[in-house]
Amino acid sequence: MEMGMEASLQAMTQILIAALILIGAFFLFVGSLGLAKLPDMMRRLHGPTKATTLGIGAMLIASMLYFMMLGAFSIHELLITLFLFLTAPVTAHMIAKAHMLGDAATQAELSETPAGWATLKAPGREA
């Protein structure tokens, strides 16, 4: 009885791990397809920063479950997840700032703010 329950638990864990790997691969594909197909820079930024981060999160959870199942639990995957989830928004913000500074068409669409846009002022450049 005990053995049977343990075996079915292990089978369910395996199904969960396989599903998480496939979900992760799907979201990575969605992000990369968005990067390749969307028409302009600000829209292209959405794919890699959201879908891809979600996909890699699912994959890291799958790997954590797998090594927990093997009995070699480690916290490395959690470190990578935390690091990627913290850095993806920073990357997206930096790229959007650089895009706004370099693109005159985007600057023309910006609304007025009382203090102006700090992004548009760089040393050695006319704002």
Binding site: F29, R44, T52, F83, L84, T91, M94, I95
Partner: protein
């Protein structure tokens, strides 16, 4: 079952990296290429993780962590250079 899922995932990640390389090659301006490189690094991390699951080796996570750090730093350095004309002021 996990091995089959890993093989399918490896194929999909390969297609993803080809799409990123396509954007890296045609990207109309510099920032598109920076973004494509960043996504390429994330896909490389996923590749390493899936290979680690497939082979059952947990050593690869050090490599994945290093890739994550180097990818983030290089993207931020590129953007900083494009924003300010300098990396460290």
């Amino acid at each position: 079952m996990i091995a089959i899922a890993c093989q399918i995932a490896l194929a999909i990640i390969g297609v993803c990296m080809l799409l990123n390389l396509y954007r890296l090659a045609i990207g109309p301006n510099v920032l598109d290429r920076v973004l494509a490189l960043d996504t390429l690094v994330i896909n490389a991390i996923a590749l390493i993780i899936v290979l680690g699951i497939w082979f059952g080796v947990s050593v690869y996570f050090e490599a994945a962590l290093l890739f994550a750090m180097v990818g983030f730093l290089s993207t931020v350095a590129f953007c900083k250079y494009l924003l300010r004309g300098n990396v460290i002021e």
